[in-house]
């Protein structure tokens, strides 16, 4: 039986609701003879239709996990399933389940036009030329690239190139889309466009999106759920609102004082950023009453408080806290 039929059966039969779109179980990757684990027993489950933020600092194991997920790298142990299909053992069928924009790569051929690229990547996904052309036309019109479809992609702006890369990942209309740093290098307008696509793909089309980015505002705005990886291990995996709420159990305070703050000994957990004339002190407190000793210390130092505020931590604060905390 043809491979496409196998996948067709799965799609037609209706996937049971409990089958995750992406399921990573006990994934470990050790490079070469070194004992260092780039990915260490990572397990994640992404329900269908979710925008899943997969975050981590550079070198945390994020790219390694993504490459294993995309079938570009073999795992030392563990398993990755896309819509229930094992990437290592059922590669062909699993590959039909997703499209990807990979970080740091061109993703498309710059010597070919946008239309040629989309037709090429469509056929690479098993589409006939006529099918790929028809789908490419839809995407290029949607992305306002139709008038420039026959120009070489190398001559496009960075934002337009990224649009073509996203279009290429959607050419076969896969249920899962992997977007690795899709807004990197884009200007404000192009970033807004990409964010709109992601929202449309997820909310209106029910696609599962795995998103990695260092732009926390993008994550906070779009992701239903966030996992953070650090030193090869997942340190948190929570719905975005829960993650923010958990962090907000400890409020963040900011105090601006006059002067550079030389010689000021800060209370534990507080940091200071000195400017030319003022210093911004910030830190987290579980109980607002704990603010009194901080103020007392500033008074003893002789600082003049210019301004003080309680600040809601955003996802960037949460992320920084998570990657600084000892691994759990």
């Amino acid at each position: 039986m043809a491979r496409t039929d196998v996948v067709g059966d799965i799609e037609r039969s209706g996937r049971p609701a409990e089958v995750p779109a992406i399921e990573i179980s006990g994934l470990t990757k050790v490079y070469g003879a070194s004992e260092t684990k780039a990915v260490d027993n990572v397990s994640l489950s992404v329900p269908p239709g979710t925008v899943f933020g997969f975050l981590g600092p550079n070198g945390a194991g994020k790219t390694t996990t993504i490459k294993i997920l995309a079938g570009l790298l073999s795992a030392t142990s563990g398993q990755v399933r896309l819509n229930g299909l094992d990437v290592a053992r059922q590669r062909a069928a699993a590959m039909e389940q997703f499209g990807a924009v990979l970080e740091g790569s061109r993703n498309t051929y710059w010597t070919l036009s946008a239309m040629q690229n989309l037709v090429y990547f469509g056929r690479l996904q098993g589409m006939r030329t006529s099918e790929a052309r028809s789908r490419a036309e839809e995407l290029l019109r949607d992305l306002d690239l139709w008038d420039r479809r026959d120009e070489k992609v190398g001559g496009y702006s960075r934002g337009m190139q990224q649009k073509v890369a996203v279009a290429a990942s959607l050419i076969a209309d896969p249920p899962i889309v992997l977007l690795d740093e899709p807004t990197i290098g884009l200007d404000v307008e192009a970033t807004r466009t990409v964010k709109d696509w992601i929202r449309t793909l997820s909310k209106d089309r029910g696609k599962t999106i795995l998103l990695t980015t260092h732009q926390m505002d993008v994550v906070e705005e779009l992701c239903d759920r966030v996992a953070v990886i650090r030193r090869g291990q997942v340190v948190t995996d929570l719905p975005t609102d829960q993650l923010l709420a958990r962090s907000r159990q400890r409020d963040k305070y900011e105090i601006r004082i006059d002067g550079t703050g030389d010689g000021l000994v800060l209370p534990e957990g507080f940091t200071a950023v000195s400017g030319e004339e003022t210093t911004l002190i910030s830190g987290r407190l579980e109980d607002p009453q704990d603010l009194y000793p901080v103020v007392d210390r500033l008074r003893e130092y002789g600082a003049v408080i210019e301004w003080m505020a309680q600040v809601q931590p955003d996802l960037e604060d949460v992320f920084l806290d998570l990657i600084r905390e000892p691994a759990r």
């Binding site: 043809a2 491979r3 570009l72 790298l73 062909a92 590959m95 006939r128 959607l170 209309d173």
Partner: protein, 287 residues
């Protein structure tokens, strides 16, 4: 706001129609060949310049060997060596750079995100490289024919040379596979590629027939250089009037056929092995 169209709102219009595995593979193979073709015609100016350069190179070599004269005998024997050399140079380089170029640009990983088996794409890239190499070999051949005619002679022809020619195509494809496989893991293998091409020029019997070389050197060339047995066979058929079964200078028809098949087999094994290593080490898209 941008509106994205997906097939979910186009019932009855599946993006991927169901079809047989063979048909899907054939489509994927054709896709790679088509991409190679687009690359060739997209850089047509460069193609024309290179075609002229190879033709000039051929004439210059004959001129130097002939001590300042374009001797007819050298034009004919040299042409039989230069056409395969041009072919191997272009075929190997095109196949090799289709990988290294994609690795450098970061596009290679994207081409692996496919339900198609990688050997289908590999085969497509190889055929695209063969098609891409043909205009250069043809340019040298036509230049040779015109120059030889201008000297009042004619280039012998015999349909039986198609056998050694096909053997050369198979052998160079094997060599290209070896180098493509190596570059998936060792990114600086480019230097080895250039050196190997130079080696084929010197030791492949291109201008100096193998029978004029020391026995050990001729044996080594016949054993490992993909174009050597083919060139030797073509010279015997066209210049000495021998039949395919009557080849005497080298190791016979059997070796003309077996040697490229062995190189192809080694190429397939090396590529498969190194592709697996690249996927284990994560070097598929790393340069």
């Amino acid at each position: 706001m941008t509106t994205l169209t997906t097939t979910t709102n186009r019932p009855g219009a599946p993006v991927r129609a169901s079809r047989s595995r063979l048909s899907t593979w054939a489509n994927g193979f054709g896709n790679e060949v088509h991409k190679g073709w687009l690359g060739l015609i997209g850089g047509w100016r460069g193609t024309l310049i290179q075609m002229a350069m190879f033709a000039i190179f051929y004439l210059l070599v004959v001129l130097f060997i002939g001590r300042g004269q374009l001797r007819t005998d050298l034009l004919i024997t040299g042409l039989l060596g230069m056409v395969p050399l041009t072919f191997i140079h272009e075929q190997v380089n095109r196949a090799f750079w289709s990988y290294l170029g994609d690795i450098q640009s970061g596009t290679l990983e994207q081409t692996y995100l496919t339900p198609l088996p990688s050997w289908v794409l590999l085969l497509g890239r190889q055929v695209a490289a063969i098609i891409g190499a043909l205009p250069y070999a043809a340019a040298v051949y036509v230049t040779g024919l015109i120059t030889i005619s201008a000297h009042g002679a004619s280039m012998p022809s015999d349909v039986r040379v198609l056998v050694p020619l096909a053997a050369i195509v198979v052998g160079t494809s094997g060599l290209a596979l070896i180098l493509c496989g190596l570059t998936l893991v060792y990114k600086r293998v480019e230097v080895a590629t250039q050196i190997s091409i130079a080696l084929w020029f010197i030791a492949g019997g291109t201008f100096v027939p193998l029978i004029n070389m020391p026995t050990w050197a001729a044996s080594l060339s016949r054993a490992i250089i993909p174009i050597a047995p083919g060139i030797e066979a073509m010279r015997e058929i066209l210049l000495k009037g021998r039949s395919l079964t009557g080849l005497q200078d080298g190791w016979g028809l059997g070796w003309v056929i077996i040697q490229p098949l062995l190189i192809l087999l080694i190429g397939v094994l090396v590529f498969t092995r190194f592709e697996r290593v690249a996927m284990r080490r994560g070097t598929l898209g790393r340069y």
